[in-house]
Symmetry: C2
Subunit: 304 residues, 2 copies
Amino acid sequence: MAQLYDRVALIGLGLIAGSMFHAIKRAGLAGEVVGYARSAETRDVAREIGLCDRVVDSAAEAVEGADLVMLCVPVGAMGAVAAEVAPALKQGALVSDVGSTKVAVIEAVAPHLPEGVHFIPAHPLAGTEQSGPRSGFAELFDNLWCLFTPLEGTDPDVLARYKSLWNGMGANVDEMDAPHHDLVLAVTSHTPHLIAYTMVGVADDLQRVTDSEVVKYSAAGFRDFTRIAASDPTMWRDVFLSNKEATLEILGRFTEELFALQRAIRTGDGDHLHDYFTRTRAVRRGIIDAGQDTDMPNFGRNAK
Amino acid sequence: MAQLYDRVALIGLGLIAGSMFHAIKRAGLAGEVVGYARSAETRDVAREIGLCDRVVDSAAEAVEGADLVMLCVPVGAMGAVAAEVAPALKQGALVSDVGSTKVAVIEAVAPHLPEGVHFIPAHPLAGTEQSGPRSGFAELFDNLWCLFTPLEGTDPDVLARYKSLWNGMGANVDEMDAPHHDLVLAVTSHTPHLIAYTMVGVADDLQRVTDSEVVKYSAAGFRDFTRIAASDPTMWRDVFLSNKEATLEILGRFTEELFALQRAIRTGDGDHLHDYFTRTRAVRRGIIDAGQDTDMPNFGRNAK
Ligand SMILES: NC(=O)c1ccc[n+]([C@@H]2O[C@H](COP(=O)([O-])OP(=O)(O)OC[C@H]3O[C@@H](n4cnc5c(N)ncnc54)[C@H](OP(=O)(O)O)[C@@H]3O)[C@@H](O)[C@H]2O)c1
Ligand SMILES: NC(=O)c1ccc[n+]([C@@H]2O[C@H](COP(=O)([O-])OP(=O)(O)OC[C@H]3O[C@@H](n4cnc5c(N)ncnc54)[C@H](OP(=O)(O)O)[C@@H]3O)[C@@H](O)[C@H]2O)c1
């Protein structure tokens, strides 16, 4: 693919930034990728493993002369980071972020950006349970989706070029408004994560079922939940605090349905259970047909 | 390994029976494996793909002369199947089952078995979201656990030989009493399944989030839930109906914790959320260290 940006700055060097770096290099999408992370430790690791062409010691230095500035920090830190880089941004530069919620990030970031700088919020729907500078890899975004929530008046050429970047990194792209994004993600991501965290917490708490039993016998289903519940605590704290309303709405729906199923169990209403469990199979089929998950049983765990 | 049984009968020819057949053959644990399933369709498929050395047309015929009779049907069908085979059982034979709940299966099966026949309930903690005669494979039980809930007075030699069978099929074995089994499984399997079914049902229901959005954007976490919620509806209906008490107890605990987290979101208590999400990471670590799941990110989905 053709080079799309002369210089890209990655602020925050974790899973998403690391994967972006590798994906950008795989396709030759940028001339130079400059990186910065808050801690000296992360910057040292990044230098050691060759994450970024150049790792610098301040956010302002990283964005100097950059055509594209990517904010890749937890959503609760986006505002402060935007304020920090704002004075050093190049005229005409594009600022974007990869935050998992969008309404709150727009509110936090937009006010800091100077005239003559573009802002297009983005969210790649791709991740793993791992984090930090060593966790990224070039294939993370392949065939998955990156959602844009452009503000009114976004320059179509700037948007088109930015879309090409994500396509070049392997992703499909789509647009929606920020509130709708936050609702969709409350369903497909935020509520499932909260539920998984809760279930693992409950299992961990139970006194009669010792840790070792929960661990030993986890292959009966529970282990899937523990993968999700091993995700970064800071990232997820910020997600829930910044997508309160939609998460609470979907949680309300979830609880309602759960109570109905609980009641069916209590009253022995096998038909209600069977009908419900039949309906949900079709969703899985759709996801596999759409290429959004492997069709191998157990996610291919048993493949040797 | 040495041959442990001259003739094994598999009643029900789905995921578990199919995997048992392949695992028995892999290690040469039985002289002959005879199979039977309720529907002519399943028996035809079994014959076509060579599932069992011999597929017969009645349960009574299958158990004739068998040293080990495995009941591999949904837990709600165990009693009727036991009644059906009882008159044809060989003296000294061992009857076992692979049902996901144990108290109810013991109550349903034990009364039908004649004097001189042994009964040892078992439950392999291994499965996939698939079912039917084509879904089994030899590696399913490898390094996972099979739990036995032997009744009082179980013959130690019969038990030892039966344990060797599961070891020979790749599993580790452990013993516990049936009520404790049902409680442990309510935590590590039954409640997680109910929750996953519920979440997928909620997503499927929402009118503003169309099917296609739920499917397209599933990689943000939701797709893991859909795998679990694609499991067989009949099997799971029977599990919940036959493990009511323990499931309802764990569901109560789950709801309590969920409400506490919901409240933390509503009140903006980030510390509570962060602490909770930190604690659950350790459980994942334990599961990986115990060899009960892959340590590859995303269950190795991204491995090509
Ligand atoms: N992980 C996912 O599944 C996923 C998917 C899509 C989008 N996202 C979003 O992508 C963003 C980054 O996530 P990630 O998974 O890449 O996280 P990560 O691996 O944990 O990396 C986070 C980076 O942000 C830095 N950081 C943390 N707190 C900060 C603060 N208060 N101020 C400045 N920098 C801070 C960290 O610096 P140090 O290393 O120096 O601590 C680290 O470099 C988040 O907004 C998240 O919501 C994540
Ligand atoms: N799947 C798992 O993850 C898992 C794990 C551990 C234990 N188990 C337990 O193992 C047992 C079998 O599960 P599976 O996954 O192997 O199921 P499966 O693949 O759905 O196969 C079930 C078998 O049982 C037969 N069957 C269904 N209803 C019956 C009835 N009312 N009377 C007689 N036979 C009937 C079916 O016959 P047709 O094919 O003719 O319909 C089929 O051969 C269940 O008790 C389950 O709780 C399952």
